[in-house]
Symmetry: C3
Subunit: 486 residues, 3 copies
């Protein structure tokens, strides 16, 4: 492993996380309680003083509470994070518990830490120094966690839950800084997070995977693949991600036309991606047969790529074009690029996040930059241009052309944070104390989970009694009980 | 095959879709991009000029944007189309990839084509000749696609993806014309699409199935059935359809009481259907055991049948009565009518769409006609009557009695379009160039999909080493690997 | 069985429900139609007279219709009831049909009966004596049914569908009375139903299970457990419950800040629960391996426990603390308390509802009492205090301290109703006419369902032909077909 920096521990490793996992979970959850106690309060629309606030702000209807503008989208995003990402990764034959379970753990920790980190950067109340949270914050926390779950996709089956918790701790922190630089300092727009979430998350995970390169991973190759029903489980994840992506990209857009436009653009882009994914998959696989890996993943690329520009006046055919090319590029990536990355660059990408998040994310950033640079008052209207790009305050004199440049700069920031942060966190995760599996024990739930005994031979007793089976046969039968089960 | 019109090609058929499927996907997606570029734009509530539009129309709150009235329902409908229909069809032991995958492909194409076709008929802007789209259009596109997915239910496992794409191209076109005649010319009401969607879609699919009759389908009978876990997967589809049906029937109703009433009526009707389905299934199956086919399908019949009248003042007990009878009729259909249709009428209906969509759809049309004819001003109020039946413009003098007659006429139109269109499309699909499977290869994913190798015998090596197994035994064991897996 | 009161029928029992199940379903559904016809009508926001009502009440926007405040939450609750509860119980290797199917049946009946029972107690129109229903009623009906589904969790696999219907009939009735006493007479607050739904439902089910104690249940122990994929199915239930719990607890809160606050509190509490559940599970299971039973169930305890206080100014860290302890207590319950309850108290709790609903429910009641007693005007504001605790009408002079006492009293009422009602219903269910399985036939779908034949040996013919297998081997192979399948 040429890229090794800290010395690698070659001794027999323990995968027992009996002390480390409970310790991490308990200590960090206690820290969350204390930090929330010191820093987090409800915002004005959540607080019981809302009736007074309404009078003060001259709000006539409860329907104006931000809850009603954002909560349905929030719930869709929430489903994407927990069921979407969780089940998408259940495709492996013996890593479904780890996929959906560790996804659950990591996300539940990440959303709390994200509320704090994003709060410190974005939502400090100037009066009392407290973080004031409401529905928009919990959407943003889910978004932040998405980047860590994308990174998990690159590492699936090769890391311990403790490593995932450590990765999430740093990942959320890096995300909050990167987001602050991109959205507040550079003042780029990124409604669906093509750059902030997907590009960052994917390069973060890929860099970690590069540092944690496992030269003998082929020893686990028997478990590194799907069985029939695990592919069907994964489609649950795919479809919930695909269906709710319009909510993801529109969830924190401005009220009214902004949310409306982001949802429509995403709907169209995703539809186009499906067709081109099927086309490439059938064209390039042997005998024209479709590959479930492509259908499960590449069909989502259009949602990633339209993220930054979702709120812009991309126009319906613009959204279709973005989706069209992303389906092609993402599927080609699975066929040609992933094997190349593993062989030449030593990047082992379990779920192919480079094809699903990194490339489409970069495309999304570029589409965002171009469409921002090309924005005109005739297309947006005077007020619409201001609202869409938030040309107010310090940025009131920024032109669309300048905005395009800043969007491109933001793209670079997200890549740098992803790669740099990933290498840093990867080195931490290489320390031989996190309980990760050896190369021949990857992709196996049995390391970290009580896996149920295989199905009891329900009517076997009967059969044993019916036939006087010879000793040899019993042996064969026993082999079957161990083996011939899903 | 007595009903054969064009000569049937008896030569060895190829099921390789390596060229046809990519060609169809690419060319049609390119056509979508071009047509959207020429014809489709955002409507006023999606466009960035919304702030100016608000001032012009004296709209005070962003909450009045149609997005907030319809988007939550849209997402529910979206789940029904992709997860509901997709997973409902996964019940077959070896056609889950095809069920959920081709459903995905067909729907993603169909929604784009539907936006165009429905746009040309309903949403042309008189000023610039463009189709203006918003959230209501994407709901309608999902509705339109539903009719093609219902048709797919009759054909499941017997057609190639290329045939499905061709069927969808024509199906959406026919739907748009039929919908225009029923909703605009006849001015019938059909909020939940009992007639427009379900009756049309079911007869469309059944007619295609009739034309494509496979006399030797019994050669595939080994795969034409469920296994334990595939029935559980199918319940995911059933439940998401069942739960979100109130959103389906209310999604495009008028704001306020219309949407509210449609949701309540559908909720009640579906609840009643469940009880009568369980009753009939237990009563007529041997030993009083329940049949999963009925529970998966007939429980949904009440949602279909209450579609047309969902927005009407059906009253809560009226909704229950509709659901009551539909559960009975649909379950009886599965037990007695489906075998009859296959044996006598040569209609092979893979999912039983005649019982789930055709009969309940017709019942729904009749219920709609009767309840429209019986509408009175005392029940609806003067304004309510006008709003509910849209007695404005050219139709301002229509009476409820006349409306009842027109509703019945609409019913006939949908049946005629379904049967006529189905025969026409069926004849096209019989051309021997679409790559459909032979009679003995139906219901098998292996034709169009890379099906994963069965689970590797994980611990088998160990056992091979432990026992010195005789040659014969190895053969037996090998047999098992091929066979004894799900 | 020492606690036996009515004589137990020891003769051979029939599990054939061919007459009883259809009879119960038909007769009760007919009764529902008649009772709805006599008593149930639309309320003002559902009725077609809404345009006149709007003018009368000076409502300017359709967005003020309660439908738009509550419908998205309703759909989330609906998913929890049918997919959440249904799939959570699919964890058993051979009881998935019964889990998801009987859950479906019971809930579909229960919501109708609940609309009537809750209507008679809460929603009688004083003018015409009719029950007037709208979206809030169908949410409440779903809530009511939840308590019966919780009770089903204690009985899973050990009762017949007829017994479940009888249990639901009485359970809903008891619920409506208990709810009336707690919410109307005692005037306690219980937004998420920690007391009214969870505590009542859990003790109701546990008491029934106690009365129906099966001394020889170990005869069914082969089927009382999970297999790999059934645990993955159960995670679908877990995650949809977990994700949508914020909607459950906020669905019927007051518009505006009330709903907003309940959602945020629940979101936070649930996140904390996940971490402590993982911690305890890993700490106390052998070798630090995680147990799926805990992850599937205990992660939800925080949602139960924050139910009563969800609408209160619990503050974000308060919600985290509640979730923290519930994860710990619930997981400890699974490890230590459940075996004790079965061994010493003769309570067989199939799904561990004591750990998931009873204990967290009681904690929720206590948290509610304490946080109500500690409420101050400075924290809530004058109007906020009135709105949150509904200190109006007869209760306008109640103090927060008094409210705390009444909350505690409500807690006791729910426990008493649960235990007392459960014993009563349990005795009814012991009558030997309901078709329940014998002790050695529990947890098996084959009793009440047509279970599909195991997968056909697709390519077996081929192999039989290839090898001239000796007679003995064929026997072994046959054994496999019966046995070695999931």
């Amino acid at each position: 492993m040429g890229n090794c920096i800290v010395p690698y521990c070659d001794g027999p490793k323990s995968t027992n996380v009996r002390w480390t996992l409970p310790a991490v979970c308990f200590v960090w959850q206690c820290a969350m309680v204390i930090l929330f106690g010191c820093f987090v309060r409800y915002n004005d629309e959540v607080d019981a003083h809302w009736p007074e606030f309404k009078i003060e702000k001259n709000i006539t209807s409860d329907a104006e509470n931000d809850f009603y503008f954002r909560y349905p989208s929030f719930q869709d995003v929430h489903v994407m994070i927990f069921v979407g990402f969780g089940f998408l990764m259940t495709f492996m034959k013996r890593y479904s518990f780890g996929a959906v379970g560790f996804n659950f753990l990591v996300a539940a920790f990440g959303i709390q830490w994200a509320l704090l980190m994003q709060g410190w950067f974005h939502h400090i109340d100037s009066e009392d120094g407290m973080i004031k949270i409401g529905v928009e914050n919990i959407i943003n926390a889910d978004f932040c966690v998405a980047s860590c779950l994308i990174a998990y996709g690159a590492l699936l089956g090769k890391v311990s839950p403790v490593q995932l918790m450590v990765m999430t701790l740093f990942g959320v922190t890096l995300f909050a800084v990167e987001e602050y630089i991109i959205l507040n300092l550079i003042h780029a727009k990124d409604a669906g997070g093509s750059m902030v979430i997907h590009t960052f998350g994917a390069y973060f995970g890929l860099s970690i995977s590069w540092v944690l390169y496992r030269p003998n991973l082929k020893d686990s190759s028997k478990l590194n693949g799907s069985v029939y029903h695990s592919d069907v489980f994964a489609m649950i994840g795919t479809l919930f991600l695909w269906m709710f992506w319009p909510s993801f990209n529109s969830a924190i857009c401005q009220h009214g036309d902004g949310q409306h436009r982001a949802a429509i653009n995403t709907y169209l882009s995703l539809a186009a991606t499906v067709l081109t994914t099927f086309a490439i998959s059938s064209l390039l696989e042997k005998n024209g047969k479709l590959d479930m890996v492509h259908i499960q993943n590449s069909t989502l690329a259009g949602g990633v790529a339209v993220g930054t520009a979702a709120e812009f006046m991309l126009s319906p055919y613009g959204a279709l074009i973005v989706g069209f090319f992303c389906g092609v590029i993402s599927t080609l990536g699975y066929i040609y690029l992933s094997p190349f990355l593993e062989r030449k660059l030593k990047i082992q990408d379990s779920c192919g996040v480079h094809n699903l998040h990194a490339m489409p994310g970069v495309i999304g950033g570029i589409v965002g930059a171009i469409s921002a640079a090309g924005a005109t008052e005739s297309v947006y209207g005077l007020q619409g241009l201001k609202d869409t790009f938030d040309f107010t305050g310090d940025f009131k004199n920024r032109t669309p052309a300048a905005q395009g440049g800043f969007q491109a700069a933001a793209m670079c920031v997200s890549i740098c944070f992803g790669i740099g942060g990933g290498i840093f966190v990867g080195l931490i995760l290489r320390m031989p104390l996190w309980g990760d599996p050896t190369d021949d024990k990857c992709f196996d739930d049995v390391i970290y989970w009580e896996v149920p005994d295989e199905e009891e031979p329900v009517e076997a007793d009967l059969h044993y009694n019916n036939h006087t089976v010879a000793n040899n046969h019993v042996e064969v039968t026993e082999t079957r009980f161990t083996v011939g089960q899903q």
